[in-house]
Symmetry: C2
Subunit: 311 residues, 2 copies
Amino acid sequence: MPALAPNSILISEVGPRDGLQSVATVMPTADKKRWITALYAAGLREIEVGSFVPARLLPQMADVADVVAHALTLPGLTVMALVPNLRGAQAAIAAGVHKLTLPVSASQAHSLANVRKTPDQMIEEVRLIAALRRDTAPQVGLEAGISTAFGCTLQGAVAEDEVIRLALECARAGVDEVGLSDTTGYANPAQVRRLFGRLRSALGQQAGAAHMHNTRGLGLANCLAALDAGVRTFDASLGGLGGCPYAPGASGNVVTEDLVFMFEAMGLSTGIDLQALIAARAPLQAGLPGEPLYGMTPDAGLPQGWAQAAP
Amino acid sequence: MPALAPNSILISEVGPRDGLQSVATVMPTADKKRWITALYAAGLREIEVGSFVPARLLPQMADVADVVAHALTLPGLTVMALVPNLRGAQAAIAAGVHKLTLPVSASQAHSLANVRKTPDQMIEEVRLIAALRRDTAPQVGLEAGISTAFGCTLQGAVAEDEVIRLALECARAGVDEVGLSDTTGYANPAQVRRLFGRLRSALGQQAGAAHMHNTRGLGLANCLAALDAGVRTFDASLGGLGGCPYAPGASGNVVTEDLVFMFEAMGLSTGIDLQALIAARAPLQAGLPGEPLYGMTPDAGLPQGWAQAAP
């Protein structure tokens, strides 16, 4: 977990990865770059810009190296990418990515569907990637996200002990931090507090981000619960895009605009300018014409007299 | 505040009042009755069925006495109505309403727009209504809701001291409980915890319901914050209908379906059957054809293996 000032929150924008992998349309590369530039201009300093996966599986990500190259020109931005295996990690490191995120499913069924490995086989892959990082690119960050940590549309309930066991295995395998993902929108605030509390007890400072979806409308409430449990890094997606192609029924991520509004209204500092963030919807929409964007704050507008500290 | 079992939550459905007052279409009386019956069948045991206001101001509520008469046939249901003044209270008591709710705006501007009285003039009215109740209908419940308690679209910020002062004045004027309403969707969880905490310190067991709107997507997070502050009664509206005709930009209430899903998933008991609650959207939609209904849980469906304790 990066050092943050007290009262500071790190929002990690995952729209260019989690959002774009979930829509059928392939956003043109030039639009992706304009969108990422607009997100950066709004104050985002960590963006998951894509995933290094075979283009035949996710044609939306075929241009990921080109997108990374653009993102690397933005000073102070942590450029992240998802990699499902060693081969992806090699390509991501070669492209200059600052931080890799590795999906480790707690659900056996989702793990097989998503990465064609059991959770324990995936831990082996994490070990290989951590060794690669240690030997060839020690400056690169490495985080694991335990997906389907709160339940799975394929297998139903997921045991909390198994989630914590896998998180510990990831840490032992050599990653810097481990977050928890509600891939399918099953989480509730009591569960979020309990499981992030256990994660923190087990991993201390290596306990990582909350990655929440808004499938049943609980996204912000679950982020609030994670905040209570000490989480300070939150994944979110502009316009609430997102889902998982291998988790039936999974829908959008927590809406970045609403999440930033909530934290800023609470007096926490995200470093993000809300007006500029809302303006970043225009290049997103231009690149995905007709795709529905979500977000209550953009629709309602900011409250009268809304004033934010300058980022 | 009614005595509730530990872990029990009282959901007070306000759709037939707050929802219907906010849509231009007048729902036919027969549809209102069918809808209320369906809400009751789902397990709701407190419903705000309408408001006693002049029909020329709110034609949607012209049939309120007839709707009350129907609701009174449902055993064990607490039939509530909003009354803005003594005349409304007389009519509501004559109609047999079990519990009156009185709107007291903390914003001077909203108070004048909503009830054409200053907040202190409204406290005078509350005193008259409490005297009427004491002298003519001591069995009738009386709650005040401090509207625009978290901010106002007309005047902007609302002082927390003023909210607590008015809540105390309402209690002194003779009401049983005082709740707080985020009429305009300005509230954030930190403010909700703080203000409900202060309300509880000031009023003890007379601290009442949380009435949250979802204007900027924070509705459920704010309910979670209120729960943390000890609140056990929550207003909500099926399909997220709602708003205030005299608060520009105010939009829908917290969605009952999503709120019940959140609490039940957390292991709290609302006494409401979610499948039956979702089924209660059909008569609502039938009575308001073409009106958009909100709610993520109805769209996404319940999680695999979802099981609720029987109400």
